[in-house]
C-alpha cells in the first residue's frame, strides 16, 4: 500500500480526532478567546464528568448492551456514601473511605444490573431504565436538601488544581481512559470483553464466560458513573438530588461519535474520549460565540447531526480510496501480463 493511502486511511479511521482538529482550528479563527490557555483547560475540565459517562456507556455498548442507569448512579453513589458518613454512621467514616464507598456503591448497582441481565435474562433497556427511575426516586427521597459542605478530600478530585492551574480532574480522567484503552487492546480480559460484544453466542460457545463479561461491563459502568459523581460533587461542592439528570442521552451521542455501535464489538476508549471532547467543545464554542441562549440547544443538535453526516461520508471516502487502489493494482497486473505475453 502506498504511503499516501496509508496516511489517508489512518486519518479516516481516526476521524473523530480529525473532526476535533478541524473544529478546533475553525474555532481558533472564529471564536474569540477560544484558543486561550484557560479556555482549553476549561473544555477539558467541563468534559471530564461527561467523558466518564461516555466511557461507561461506551464500554457497555462494546459488549453490545446499554446502560441508562448511569445518570442516576452519578447522584446515588455519592449520595449514599455521604449519608453514611454524615447521618447513618456519623463520625466513623473518613473521607478517603467515603470515596471508596462511593465507588463501591456504583459497583454494586452495576453488579445488580449485570446479574439480572446476564443471569436472569432481563432486557437491558428495561433493567437499566427501571434502575434509572428507582435510584433517582431514592435519591429524591433521601437527599431532599443538598448535602454540603463536603470534606476537602472528597471534593479533591473534582475541585483541586495542580501546576499551571490545571484541575486534577483532567489527569485523572486521562489516566482512566488510557488504562481502559490498554486493557481492551492488550489484555486477555479486554479481548474476551470485545469478543463477547462481537458475537455473544459464538463467544459463549467458544468457552468464554460471557455472562461474567456482561456483569463486568455493568460493574465497570457503575464504577465510572460513581467517578463521574465524585467529580460532579467536587465541582459544585455539594451533592444534590438532581445531579446528572438528563446526561444519559449525550453519553450515547459521545460514545457513538467515538466509534461505538449499539450492535457491539465496536469502538475504543480513546475514540470515546474524542467523542466526549467534541461534545464539550461544541457547547463551549457556542457559548463563547455568544449564540442566542435559546438557539444554543438547537445548534448543538445540528452540530451533532453534522458530525454524524461527516462520519457517513468517511465510510464512503474510505471505500472509494480502497476501490481506486484496487483498480490501480489490477491495471498494473494486467499491464504486466500483457508485457509478459509480448516478451513470451
Amino acid at each position: 500500500m502506498p504511503k499516501k493511502l496509508q496516511v489517508q486511511l489512518f486519518l479516516l479511521d481516526n476521524l473523530i480526532w480529525v473532526i476535533i482538529a478541524g473544529f478546533f482550528l475553525l474555532n481558533v479563527v472564529i471564536t474569540p478567546k477560544f484558543a486561550t490557555y484557560d479556555n482549553l483547560v476549561n473544555i477539558f475540565y467541563h468534559s471530564a464528568i461527561m467523558s466518564m459517562l461516555v466511557l461507561a456507556q461506551g464500554l457497555v455498548m462494546i459488549i453490545g448492551l446499554l446502560d441508562l442507569s448511569i445518570e442516576s448512579i452519578l447522584a446515588f453513589a455519592p449520595g449514599i456514601a455521604l449519608l453514611l458518613a454524615t447521618k447513618w454512621l456519623p463520625g466513623s467514616i473518613d473521607p478517603i473511605t467515603c470515596i471508596f464507598i462511593t465507588l463501591a456503591v456504583g459497583a454494586l448497582v452495576g453488579l445488580f444490573n449485570g446479574v439480572f441481565i446476564a443471569k436472569i435474562g432481563v432486557n437491558p433497556f428495561l433493567q437499566s431504565l427501571s434502575m434509572l427511575i428507582m435510584l433517582r426516586g431514592v435519591v429524591l427521597f433521601l437527599v431532599p436538601f443538598s448535602i454540603f459542605p463536603l470534606a476537602k478530600v472528597y471534593t479533591y478530585a473534582g475541585q483541586a488544581r495542580m501546576v499551571g492551574n490545571i484541575p486534577v480532574a483532567i489527569p485523572i480522567v486521562l489516566i482512566i481512559f488510557i488504562i481502559f484503552h490498554f486493557i481492551l487492546q492488550h489484555t486477555t480480559f479486554g479481548r474476551y470483553f470485545v469478543a463477547t460484544g462481537g458475537n455473544a453466542r459464538a463467544s459463549f460457545v467458544s468457552g468464554i464466560n460471557t455472562s461474567k463479561m456482561v456483569i463486568w461491563a455493568f460493574v465497570i459502568s457503575g464504577i465510572l458513573a460513581a467517578v463521574a459523581g465524585l467529580l460532579a460533587a467536587g465541582r459544585q461542592g455539594s451533592i444534590s438530588n438532581s445531579m446528572g439528570d438528563g446526561m444519559v442521552m449525550l453519553s450515547f451521542a459521545g460514545a457513538i461519535l467515538g466509534g461505538a455501535s449499539l450492535d457491539g464489538g465496536k469502538g475504543t476508549p480513546l475514540g470515546m474520549l474524542g467523542g466526549a471532547l467534541l461534545l464539550g467543545m461544541i457547547s463551549n464554542s457556542l457559548n463563547l460565540l455568544g449564540v442566542n441562549v435559546s438557539l444554543v440547544y438547537a445548534t448543538q443538535g445540528a452540530l451533532i447531526f453534522l458530525a454524524i453526516i461527516i462520519d457517513r461520508v468517511r465510510e464512503k471516502v474510505r471505500n472509494h480510496l480502497l476501490h481506486q487502489e484496487q483498480v490501480k493494482k489490477m491495471l498494473c497486473h494486467e499491464q504486466q501480463e500483457t508485457n509478459q505475453l509480448a516478451i513470451g
Partner: protein
C-alpha cells in the same frame, strides 16, 4: 386528643383532605412548601395529600383529575413549569367546586382563590437594584462600561422569563452595561459550566454576575469563579430565592444579597386558608392588607390576581438578606428548617 379531632374536622365531621401538587421535588424551596403544608396540616388536624408533578403539565393534570375523583376538599398548586398549560385542569377543579390556592407561580387562567407568593418580577428588580448598587460600591460610586453575566433558569420555564424581566428593568437603565446570558438550567452543574465559559470569554470586562436563583445555581457559579482563581466578592452576586446553600454562601461572604422567598410560610397560609374556607370562615379579600407580628412576609397586600381569570393575589414580602434582614434571623425558613439540612460537621 379526641377534643382536638372534633375541633379540627370539617362541617360534616369527616377529616378534611387537601390535595397538593408540587412542581418536582428537587429544589429546597419545594421541600419548604412540603414542610410548611405538613406542619400546618398537623396543627389543624387535616390531611394534605402531596403529589409530584414531575415538572410536566400533563402529569399535573392527571393528578388533578385524580384529586377530583377522590373529592378532595381543597387544592394547592405549588409551582408549575407551564402556567397556561395547566389551565384546563384548574377549570375542572373549579367546576368540581374545589377551592384552589397557588404557591410560587400562579396558573394563568381559571379561578384561583388565592395566590400566595412574593412577586417574582418585583423581587428580581429588588435583587437587581442591589446588584447595581454592588457594582457602584466596587467602582467608586460609578457604573463603568462592561459586561454583566445573567445566569438563567431553564428557558422553557416561565419563572425564568419573569426573572429576566425584573432584572432587565433595572439593568437596561445603564446602557454602558452589556448583558450576556448563560443557561444555568436550575442546576449547579450547568451554572458552573456557563460561568466558566463566560469568564473565559469576557474576563476582566465582567463587572458582576447575576444569578436568577442562587438557591439552586449559586454554588456552581461561586465554584466556577474560584476555579478561575478569582474572588466571588468581586462579582457581587445577587438573585432571588436563597435556600440553605444561598444562606451558606451569604455567610461565607461569597454572595452579596438574595431576596428571600417565603416558601415555608406561604404553604402554611395556603393550608390555613383552605381550612378557613371549609369551615365557613372568611379569607382575606382583594383590597385587604394582612399583617402578622413576627412574620417576614408581613405586611402583605391582597390585590387582584393579574394572571388568573379570577381570584386574589396576596403579595408576600420578600426581604433582602442580609441587607434588610440578617442571615441568622430565626424567622427565615432556611433557619427554621435547619435541622433538616445541616450536616454533622466533621
Amino acid at each position: 386528643q379526641s377534643e382536638k379531632k372534633s375541633e379540627t374536622a370539617g362541617q360534616d365531621g369527616k377529616q378534611l383532605v387537601f390535595g397538593m401538587i408540587i412542581k418536582d421535588p428537587t429544589a429546597p424551596f419545594i421541600q419548604a412548601f412540603i414542610n410548611g403544608a405538613e406542619s400546618k396540616a398537623k396543627e389543624l388536624g387535616v390531611k394534605v395529600d402531596i403529589k409530584d408533578g414531575q415538572a410536566d403539565s400533563l402529569k399535573i393534570m392527571e393528578l388533578m383529575d385524580n384529586f377530583i375523583v377522590q373529592k378532595v376538599d381543597g387544592f394547592i398548586m405549588a409551582g408549575a413549569v407551564d402556567l397556561k398549560a395547566i389551565v384546563p385542569g384548574v377549570k375542572k377543579l373549579n367546576e368540581a367546586g374545589i377551592p384552589i390556592m397557588a404557591l410560587d407561580t400562579s396558573p394563568e387562567g381559571g379561578k384561583v382563590d388565592m395566590f400566595l407568593s412574593f412577586d417574582i418580577e418585583q423581587s428580581s428588580k429588588k435583587a437587581a437594584e442591589a446588584f447595581v448598587q454592588g457594582i457602584k460600591d466596587r467602582n467608586g460610586g460609578e457604573v463603568p462600561k462592561g459586561v454583566v453575566v445573567e445566569i438563567t433558569g431553564s428557558l422553557e420555564d416561565m419563572f425564568t422569563q419573569a426573572c429576566t424581566k425584573g432584572f432587565r428593568s433595572v439593568v437596561d437603565q445603564y446602557p454602558q452595561l452589556t448583558v450576556v446570558q448563560g443557561e444555568g438550567k436550575w442546576n449547579n452543574d450547568d451554572s458552573n459550566k456557563r460561568t466558566s465559559d463566560l469568564i473565559t470569554r469576557y474576563g476582566k470586562e465582567i463587572k458582576g454576575i447575576y444569578v436568577q436563583t442562587p438557591d439552586i445555581m449559586g454554588a456552581g457559579v461561586v465554584t466556577a469563579i474560584e476555579a478561575a482563581g478569582l474572588n466571588p466578592k468581586d462579582y457581587g452576586i445577587t438573585g432571588i430565592c436563597m435556600g440553605p446553600e444561598g444562606l451558606q454562601l451569604i455567610n461565607e461572604g461569597k454572595v452579596l444579597a438574595i431576596v428571600e422567598q417565603p416558601a415555608f410560610e406561604s404553604a402554611q397560609l395556603a393550608v390555613q386558608y383552605l381550612y378557613d374556607l371549609k369551615n365557613g370562615k372568611e379569607i382575606p379579600k382583594i383590597g385587604d392588607t394582612v399583617t402578622k407580628d413576627n412574620a417576614l412576609w408581613s405586611p402583605a397586600k391582597v390585590i387582584e390576581n393579574p394572571w388568573a381569570d379570577e381570584g386574589a393575589y396576596m403579595v408576600l414580602q420578600g426581604p433582602l438578606v442580609p441587607l434588610e434582614v440578617k442571615a441568622d434571623n430565626p424567622l427565615l425558613w432556611e433557619n427554621k428548617l435547619s435541622s433538616l439540612w445541616k450536616q454533622e460537621n466533621k
